[in-house]
Structures are given as structure tokens and as C-alpha cells.
Symmetry: C2
Subunit: 334 residues, 2 copies
């Protein structure tokens, strides 16, 4: 392995001068700089990042831990975070927690942390009860779904208000019997519960009485499961004219099931999702959805993290991103 010392020897300078050249610091004569660069090129030298990180105590890298990298929403979120990281000269690496509380704690607390200057954690497994475990002396921003009044900065999705707007939109378009398709409502702060609260509030605001049979709960969070749930509901004779899906990902299965059953969207049933994933615009029918301003979420999360990395010590910040309702064919009136 070629080290800085080899370069120094070959170029006839001290290791420190090589280091100065590598870091484009001033106070190096142009001719010396050129000679060192030439030597670096000749010997095909590469900086050893581990050594540099050790010495500097910084890695210029932040981690992004998401539940699943193969869910479109998290792919798009990752791309947005990477883009914002670049603005601050930060390298971003993505890790997967597999939706498990344990892995989220691992990402958060375990040794690996030390390879990053900070972490953006999209938490779905951790809950209010884990607040004490979040007291880490390390820059972390909690992202996305749950509400935390914890010790960490939090960038939240407008879950309840967004869901409220979505369901209100269905009601405005004439729906009165609206199904809600959710993941399991494990506690009061998971995505499904928060969005369900918005659903209920919208019904209440419109004076529509809630019917618990209209809430379909999935044990697995997937289009397959959503599709199966809709099939089962229809087979059981459930009447409905609208479906609010907790995510676009789930809506994919719902739309598919309705097509299988020969139920026309939007004529017989209107469907709306949440997340406004790229592909939703291209489905047939195109899927109405709530856009949670992913780019803003990413920008805010990175900015907050950078502040903390720089040493900001203020109280934890809670930021709820705005949302926009994207009305498309799946909720059209004709």
C-alpha cells in the first residue's frame, strides 16, 4: 500500500507537505505542489480514509437508515437526501433497518454510528416508549412517520392533516362510504394510526358516521395484502364508494383488486393514496394522492443535521412539512 510517506520520500519533501498538497492548503510553492502531485500520480497513491477519519474525528459522511430500500417512497426519499447532502459536501450512505425496532436501535446506538458524522433515521419501529433510548450524544434527526416529543430533532410527515385532506377530497367528490386501508394500528404514533385519525376527523367534519367495518387492517404491509383485503371485503358484501389508502404502495394492490372485481374506478369507487410516489401519475387510472413534500422533508432534515454536526445545542426542533393534494383520475367525477 502506497502511503503519504512513500510519496514524501519520492518527492523529496516531508509527509506534512504531501498532506498539505492533498488538502489544497496554502503555503506550498507551486513547483513543490506540482512535483508532489506528479509523484502521487506516478505511484498511484490514494488517501487512506480510515486514517484520515481517525485523525480528523470527522467522516464527512452521514447515514440514512430507512425501513426498506425497495419501497418506492424510500428510494425517492434517499435520492432527495443524497441531493441535499451534496449541497453540504456530505456523502450519504443508505442502510436498511427492515422495519424492526431492534435494527433501528442498532443503527442509532451501536458502534457503527462512529463511521458517520450524523444519522437520519426514518423510524417506524421505535415508539414513544423508546424516548429514553434516543438520548444519544450524536447528531441524529428522526424522520418521517411517527410523532416524537423526544430529545432529537424531528422532521414529520403531515400525516393527520394530509389524510384529512385526502378523505375530505373523497367526500367532496361525492363519496359517503369510504374504506380505510391501513397497516396494523400498533400504537397511537405509527403512520397508520396518525393517518387513520385524519380519516376519522374528516368523516366527523362532514357529519358522516364511522363504520368500523370499513377499516381494513393489513398484517403485512404490501400490495398483495391490500388486494386480498379488498377481495375479501367485496366478497363479504361490503358496500363502499371510496377508498383511502394509507400509502400509494398499498393503493397499488387496491386498484388491482378493484380491476379484478370489475369495479370501475373512479365511476363506482374513488381511490386516493398517500406519498405521491412517482409511478402513481402513470397508473391507469392515475392515482390521486397526498404529496408530503418529500424534497422539503429531505432539505430540512439535512439542514437540521448539519446544524447539529456543527455543534448547535438548542432545543429539539419539530418540523412538520406541508402537503399538497394531487387530484387525478382515480377520484375524478364525470
Amino acid at each position: 500500500m502506497v502511503t503519504i510517506r512513500d510519496i514524501a520520500k519520492a518527492a523529496g519533501v516531508s509527509p506534512m507537505t504531501v498532506s498539505n498538497v492533498l488538502n489544497s492548503r496554502p503555503h506550498v510553492k507551486d513547483s513543490t505542489r506540482a512535483r508532489v502531485l506528479q509523484t502521487i500520480d506516478d505511484l498511484d497513491y490514494r488517501v487512506n480514509i480510515a486514517a484520515r477519519n481517525l485523525r480528523r474525528g470527522k467522516t464527512h459522511t452521514i447515514g440514512l437508515a430507512v425501513p426498506e430500500v425497495d419501497r418506492p417512497y424510500f428510494g425517492e426519499l434517499g435520492a432527495a437526501i443524497i441531493e441535499n447532502g451534496r449541497r453540504h459536501d456530505l456523502n450519504v450512505v443508505i442502510e436498511q433497518t427492515e422495519r424492526s425496532r431492534e435494527n433501528e436501535l442498532t443503527a442509532l446506538a451501536l458502534s457503527r454510528l462512529r463511521m458517520y458524522d450524523g444519522l437520519i433515521l426514518s423510524a417506524v419501529g421505535l415508539g414513544e416508549s423508546d424516548v429514553d433510548l434516543l438520548r444519544v450524544d450524536f447528531p441524529v434527526v428522526i424522520l418521517g412517520e411517527r410523532i416524537f416529543q423526544g430529545p432529537l430533532d424531528h422532521v414529520a410527515t403531515p400525516n393527520e392533516d394530509g389524510a384529512h385532506a385526502a378523505v375530505q377530497h373523497l367526500i367532496e367528490r361525492g363519496c359517503t362510504r369510504i374504506i380505510a386501508v391501513h397497516g396494523s394500528l400498533s400504537d397511537d404514533t405509527d403512520v397508520s394510526s396518525l393517518r387513520h385519525a385524519g380519516y376519522r376527523r374528516a368523516l366527523a367534519d362532514a357529519g358522516i358516521e364511522e363504520d368500523s367495518r370499513l377499516t381494513l387492517t393489513l398484517d403485512v404491509f404490501s400490495p398483495e395484502a391490500a388486494s386480498a383485503a379488498v377481495h375479501q371485503a367485496v366478497d363479504a358484501g361490503l358496500q363502499f364508494d371510496g377508498v383511502f389508502c394509507v400509502t400509494d404502495y398499498v393503493a397499488l394492490g387496491v386498484l388491482r383488486a378493484l380491476a379484478d372485481l370489475g369495479i370501475s374506478v373512479p365511476d363506482e369507487v374513488k381511490v386516493i393514496g398517500f406519498d405521491d410516489v412517482e409511478s402513481s401519475r402513470f397508473l391507469t387510472p392515475s392515482l390521486s394522492s397526498v404529496n408530503p413534500s418529500k424534497d422539503l422533508i429531505a432539505a430540512k432534515a439535512v439542514d437540521l443535521l448539519v446544524d447539529r454536526i456543527k455543534g448547535a445545542t438548542g432545543d429539539p426542533v419539530e418540523f412538520v412539512s406541508p402537503y399538497a393534494l394531487m387530484a387525478r383520475e382515480s377520484t375524478a367525477v364525470r
Copy 2:
């Protein structure tokens, strides 16, 4: 920052003994071990990974560089690689190259490399002409699309044969005028060119004469662009009864355009994609596609990389994964 030395002092042992405890090495009395562990817990000590990596010269982490993390195919690939990495106790981090040759070279050659024990690079910007730049003395597996007879192990997608099977399938279902929707055919080894070759061979095998007007080339690789291209072709009066899409991602735009134009799939036009992304099963109509055995690709890539990390020095391996044709509604005959 609490170091191993602090623990040693507090527990009344040498730093080396703490290290031995941390790495569960033998030759430490149980009582000593317990005392050290207690001290570690008391002082809330965490290993400094940078220091350990420097000293050990290993990181137990591999990188996966993909063009775009927000394309479903790469999300799914990432998930598969992570899963296979776990089998070898390897941490996987994902980076984005933005489809640029330059960034791919950066990921490959630049300093960052040193934070990983190896790299899996899904190359779309690099070409045959860059072969010399690939002579790195570092474990790297090239993934996916292009053909390389380079100095590195290569796990290839069955591009030509898969495309051939897809187009043959269209022909068997009665299509005779088949559009091909591609990205730019920049050289002979990019995805589009390879798959296009399969398209042409299938036409030739069936005795269908090629019509160059039926090849639609996108300058941007997106559903939007694909949709626009189909609109334009139809407006120009182009007659066709089948569409072969270079990826499912592009097919999304094609299906959407056909729906906009009131052209029925599969009755008037049959459509097939490539990649067999998860959502394709749920589209209406569900999209026929070529499944390139993503899991096998991931497993093979990780295995090869692990071998190289362990020091295997044999000739570069070229592995082409098998494919499976998934016939769905978009190519059904009724």
C-alpha cells in the same frame, strides 16, 4: 470521548485486556471479563470504528454503487444485495452515481473506496473503452447491464436473450409490427443496444423485416419521455400491434400513453417490459416482463466479491444470470 484506555484505567487492567474482552478473545479470566464489561457499561463506551478499521485494515462493509436509488429496479437490487451481504456478515451501504461515467469512476477509483472492503458497481456510464481504468487492485464486481471483458468479475443481466424471448413472446401472441422503446444507443454495450440486438434477432428469427421507424429512442430515460414518444408515434400515423419496452420503468409511460390514446392493451396492442419490477404485477393491465433473476444476480455478485476480498486471484469471472418470461395481461390473447 471515552476510549479503551479510560476503561482500562477504571477497571484496573491494560488496554489490551479491554481489547481482548471487546473481541471476545480467550485468555481472559471470567471475573476480569465481567469487571471490564461492567466498566464499559458504566462509562457508556463505544468502539471507535475508524481506529479499528485503520488498525485492522478491514471494514466489514461493502459498497453498492447504483445509478439511481429511486428507480424501483435498483431499490429491489439493493434490498437483495443487503440480504446476501448479511449472510457473510457484511454491512452494505448504497451510493448513487447518477448514471454518470465520472461518478462511476469516482466510486471505483477514488479515495472513498478505502472505506469498504469491496465494491459492487452497477455500471451504466462506463464502457469498453474504459477497461484500462478498471485495473484496480481492490475487490470490485461489475454488475448488471453492460458487457465487459475487463479485468474484473462481472455479473451480467441476460440482456440479449431476455429481449429475444420477450419479442418472440409478442410474435407468438400474434404481433407483427412491434415497436421497440429504448434509451439512446450510445455504443454497442449499453443496456438499450444489447436489448435491441435481442429484439432484432427475434424479428429475424420469425422472418419479420425490421422497420426502423418502429424503433423509438428516448433522450431521457423516464416514463414521461416514453409516454411522449408513443403519443408522437401515434400522431404521426405509425401502425403497430406490439411494444417491447427496454425496462418496466419505461413501460409505465407506454401503458399510460396507450390508455390516453384510447388504444386497448392487450386487444389492439400488446406490451412487454424488462426487469419484472414488483409493481408490474399490479398494474392494470398487469405488465408482462422478463425477470432477470435479481436474487441470483445479487447472490452471485456478493459471493464473487467475498471471494476476492478473501484473496482469490483467479481470472475474472463472467456470469450471466438466467431469465424467466412472465406472461401477464398486457400480452394476453382473448
